[in-house]
Symmetry: C2
Subunit: 406 residues, 2 copies
């Protein structure tokens, strides 16, 4: 497995494009991805009870289980909390895209991200789709345009392409994602799309994504708010012509490893570019009784405002970490817990088996001035382990999210 230059249309048999159509003021706001052949797919959606129209549309497609052909994504408007009109507008987006690309509406995934509670500007979207559809291609620049079209206040483009060999064939995987922030800051929406030319059984692809999603996207947090529009999806069109992966054999594990790597990379990129983030935090809890306990502890630490502001302030205020673990609801014994920080190859032990260790505050302060900080917790309670990623809580976060929408 190795990284290659590429974008969402780099795997064989995919085309893509993105452009500015006028939902946002200046930046690109519409993207289309097409698989020339029908592709199997796997998807994960927001667990929020309030789901955007596009999420409901895609869940419906997922239930039908047939292969799909395309994804159409607009940024600048989330089409959430928009009632029946919102459902109708999503359907029209799929219909128009399908008509332009020569497939069925039920083969088109739809995603939207942006301000909520405002109807989609269909007078802009419909001609936009008509204009973009004929321009999609396999060119690298077109793929990069697609990755740009899904961005909101993201400050970096989040893409990665990998190549691996499966059954003697070169298999390519490409991903593009957007993170937390919008032109009209409204809600942190996470979107991630992956294309691959691998030939794989759809059920196996879904099993892989569910497992990987749990260890990657579900282990990141910018502000603890789960959006109405979150979505991760993988399309696999078989164009690599490998013998189809239909069991958990060596080929599956090789593909799984590549898909895991790709998703973990995109998930971390989303956090690194979290709204106002000045620190990237990796939290590992080891020695837990169960994986679920480990995961809950990691997420409680990553979502604590007091931990996040301490990291912003470069303060080795480890008591807040113990506190966040304590109210998480997970099972652990504070009296057996050890805690250390590490960054740039240096470590500092703060608590050993429940007891505070007196430490050099100057050294701790120096260590915390790094951008990438690891927090390592050993529970001595079992063998389960979990890792998650987050960011600090800065003035900039408050500024971005406190500013008036218009």
């Amino acid at each position: 497995m190795h990284t290659i230059e590429g974008s969402i249309n780099t795997p064989k048999g995919f085309k893509a494009g993105g452009k500015h159509i006028g939902i946002k003021r200046k930046r690109k706001d519409l993207s289309i991805v097409l698989s020339e052949k029908p592709a199997v797919f796997a998807a994960m959606f927001t667990t929020n009870k309030v789901k955007a129209a596009s999420v409901l549309w895609n869940m419906d497609i997922e239930r039908k289980a047939g292969p799909i052909r395309a994804i159409v994504i607009n940024s600048g408007n989330a089409n959430a909390c928009t009632g029946k009109q919102g459902m109708e507008d999503t359907k029209v987006m799929a219909q128009k895209t399908a008509a332009m690309l020569g497939c069925e509406p039920e083969e088109v995934f739809v995603a939207s991200t942006g301000v909520i509670g405002v109807p989609l500007p269909m007078d802009v979207l419909v001609p936009g789709i008509e204009s973009l559809a004929p321009e999609i291609s396999g060119e690298l620049q077109a793929g990069l345009n697609a990755a740009e079209g899904i961005m909101t206040t993201d400050t970096t483009m989040k893409i990665l392409s990998l190549e691996t060999e499966i059954g003697g064939k070169t298999v390519t995987l490409s991903g593009m994602a957007k993170g937390s922030g919008m032109i009209h800051p409204n809600m942190a929406t996470m979107l991630s799309f992956i294309t691959t030319d691998v030939a794989i059984d759809q059920e196996l692809l879904r099993r892989a994504l569910r497992k990987i999603g749990k260890d990657t996207y579900n282990m990141i947090s910018v502000d603890g708010d789960t959006s109405t529009n979150d979505m991760v999806m993988v399309m696999a069109n078989g164009s690599a012509e490998n013998t189809i992966i239909d069991q958990e054999d060596n080929d599956y594990h090789k593909f799984y490893k590549a898909l895991h790597h790709l998703n973990e990379h995109l998930a971390k990129e989303i956090v690194k570019d979290g709204e106002g983030a000045s620190k990237f935090l990796e939290v590992t809890v080891d020695g837990a009784k169960t994986s679920e306990d480990a995961r809950i502890l990691v997420k409680s630490i990553l979502t604590s405002n007091l931990v996040k502001t301490a990291m912003f302030g470069e303060d080795a205020n480890w008591g807040r970490i113990l506190c966040a673990m304590g109210y998480s609801g997970a099972d652990f014994d504070p009296d057996k817990t050890s805690l250390e920080f590490s960054a740039a190859g240096q470590r500092i032990l703060l608590m050993k088996e429940g007891l505070p260790i007196s430490f050099d505050e100057d050294f701790a302060y120096e260590l915390l001035q790094n951008r990438d900080i690891s927090i390592l917790i050993q529970l001595e309670d079992g063998n389960a382990k979990a890792t998650g990623w987050g960011c600090d809580l800065s003035y900039e976060y408050v500024k971005i999210n406190g500013e008036y929408r218009s």
Copy 2:
């Protein structure tokens, strides 16, 4: 029932005092409250799995169920995550206080608030207790000193005294509380102490506090972090000489109403003085299927960073409220939900039965410039209702909590 001037030692048979003994640099840091006669009591403690030594000491006293005599409280050091030494130090605090006041250590509640993971400075605390104990009295100023001694970065003293008539006797209730913030910002600890001279059965007092706690302290949030040291307790010494309240009769309801009023007042004061708070938010969810659903929805809104920053930014970004409701896990139907803001007698409807209402942004902005904002949600799903209180998330919160401890 009416408000009177007073402090924690105003009910008959109570003495109190507070002074600076040197745990903190300048401000008062030790308080003692004494009931001349043994008093029945009720208490609620933090649900955090990591509990400060003082919380464990008090829980032990509570299990023994005997009456108590005194409370000793230090600020400036939480004595949490301090292992066996911490337990020993708490015991010494109780022993020394008991010896000075002429009671048993098991009759002394202990509370600590401040930095965690640092041993208590017993060389300062022991002489401090010896010095303060002889100075406690029934004087108003001594009671105010006690209320000041439990403060950390609180900017206002949180006290209230009430008088009511029960069985022909005047009954007095007084409370003092501290909120969220410390000299060494470390963790939001909430402490609240109530004295009353009512004669009441202990089990009945405990039942009342449990019920009231659920509707008051458990419905406030500054930052969603539950401290290791939180504690609410009521002492009732019977000095008012009313016929003892031992069933849920009229006398009980009269006392309950006063106790509820007192605790709701203190809980709201804590939130109003939350770290960096510039807005006071009251959130009401009505028409829920169950009280539990209503409570969960209120708390999810109050702890959402995106809602809190929108309120700081005076932005009528109601989509974030729907979003926070959606991921709360509570049962409700977004398509039947209505939402409005109100402040200073004015109202603005933003969503009606699931559909966004187009509203005057200028008017909404003007309304949100008030300090006290109410958010009212109608679910049309049942008859259950809950109200909770919180504050915004400001630059100042990040500053207070991001600053290096020393």
